[in-house]
Symmetry: C2
Subunit: 332 residues, 2 copies
């Protein structure tokens, strides 16, 4: 399947932009479209059954919420305000009326939480699995929109929240599913892992961070959301901005419970934080002079800095060893 | 499946609009979003294998083109200019690299034909069939945007092109497929039906009509594209504008070859024209004083007029019989 995704990547590069209003096409979290006084943003995401979610343990209400979160998070990552969504759904015979109702309840909750309007939708039958596509639209100030390419040498790299918990939530859910499949009388043990499970099943888009930064005020030089894992997003920034980055292992924000769960699962907590994905936190760069403004914020952590491109994308371990980072995130 | 679509219809009605920029949500060809000096338009459509297309006879290049046409046609139907598209694709193992390349070639051709920019995409693996979702964005002048609700009593109802040929193309393709399945040595006989087959496999969005009407100049009072069939679209206008409509059988534009094919297939040509769907022609209403401007246009046909809502949605036959129209279009 990998060669197909590579081909699509190449094919997409052959599409020219005809309209002067198309400021940014494929290659950032969202497309940027000139609307005169401001920019309009547009982004689209698919969630496919058995690829992105497992209905054995993903409550449909959470799934509806998550589908909206993914798209909204992309708008936020442009330093934008999400405003509208369009939802497409392919539903199969296994999806009953009460299930559909739950799914829409989740979408409704997300619309309220993110203050976005459902303005379009198309629904079809599906020969097999459930598939949800959400397109999100939003606005950004022309002077403040954050492209990936904006990162500059010596900028400080920051992340919001903590990393790796969503991935560990998935490991917990998969383990409990296996236990249940082996003996359907077993009840899943999720209580000790509730934070991680919630991070996996019902992640939140960080709409609050744009407001926080505006109040400080700090204007990031670049921003991206952590969908495929920190490493993958750092590589995106590196490529788009033609820079290198260095991040420090001892600075990575990892939830204590997630750290302990990783160890219990014989996983490296740092690898989970760096390659885990699906946290939907924000990764952004700021100028050095702005660092003092963000360090007091409990939910923003400086984790490294931007270097010359020749230095590559690197992790500096606690012992001072320098490790080059390579993408290991989800392919889809 | 019908009850699910009804439920979704009801559920969607419970979503409030939070943003003053959300001028029109669900319920027209495209969402309308205030962008200050003008409106932005957004619409989304799914094409699912075995529901909307059959890869036995649908060339992938045409399929890619058609997927873009569907979304672009919705922008045009708001009297808008299509500008950008976002494409989502779920691909399965049966889709080979050359097939993918053909699909993108079709999308590329459509982008050139309609002068739209591909600005976003997401691709995933699919557990089974191929699925393509296209979201189209566009712009409309605030004074000229055409809502379905704009139709007024005594306005004249017009359609572009001819009706029913796409449906007959589908009948031809399905017949030839059955012949081929019975005897794979048989070559399909499509030549005599090439117009109808093309209307089914590679329909065109009528971007030219908006330009034509602007030049005349004629500003329609309402507009909709004929995706699900003339009857279905007339019912949409009737509901949105709270009006009745009367159309005349002898005015319906039907291609001569399509008419003869319908008769040969033991189908009623009028039923094909009224309920066929997938023609992607435009249905619009104009004020009576503008009729003379459009009657000279070879591709615009007045077919009836708008009445009081109490009179319902009616077809007046050649013999003067009045038949109430009920939707029989595609459910999906």
């Amino acid at each position: 399947m990998l060669s197909k995704f590579n081909l699509i990547h190449k094919l997409k590069a052959t599409f020219p932009l005809h309209h002067p209003t198309s400021i940014q096409g494929i290659g950032d979290d969202a497309a940027v479209i000139d609307a005169g006084t401001h920019y309009k943003l547009a982004t689209t995401d698919i969630l496919a059954e058995r690829v992105h979610f497992d209905l054995t343990y993903h409550p449909l209400k959470h799934l509806g919420y998550k589908a909206v979160t993914l798209a909204v998070s992309n708008i936020v990552a442009m330093y934008g305000i999400p405003e509208q969504i369009l939802v497409n759904m392919a539903i199969n015979d296994n999806v009953s009326l009460p299930m559909l109702q739950e799914l829409y309840e989740g979408i409704h909750k997300a619309c309220t939480a993110y203050q976005v309007d459902l303005v379009g939708s198309d629904t079809t039958v599906s020969a097999t699995g459930l598939m949800i596509t959400v397109t999100a639209l939003g606005s950004a100030d022309k002077k403040h929109v954050c492209f990936r390419k904006g990162a500059q040498v010596n900028d400080i790299i920051c992340v919001t929240g903590d990393l790796g918990a969503a991935y560990l939530g998935l490991q917990v859910l998969n383990r409990e599913k296996q236990v249940w499949e082996a003996d359907p009388n077993m009840q899943p043990v999720l209580e000790p892992y509730s934070y991680m499970v919630r991070r996996q099943l019902k992640p939140e888009a960080r709409t609050d961070i744009v407001q926080t930064l505006q109040k400080l005020p700090v204007l990031p030089t670049c921003m991206i959301d952590i969908a495929d894992g920190l490493c993958s997003e750092l590589l995106h920034i590196s490529k788009a901005a033609n820079v290198g980055v260095a991040i420090y292992e001892d600075k990575l924000p990892i939830d204590q419970g997630a750290y302990e769960t990783a160890v219990a699962f014989h996983l490296d907590p740092i690898t989970c934080a760096v390659n885990g994905g699906e946290d939907y936190e924000l990764l952004f760069t700021i100028r050095q002079q702005d660092v003092d403004k963000v360090t007091q914020h409990p939910d923003i952590t400086p984790i490294g800095y931007v270097t010359a491109v020749a230095e590559g994308v690197r992790l500096v371990t606690k012992t001072g060893t320098v490790v080059p980072l390579k993408a290991q995130g989800w392919q889809t």
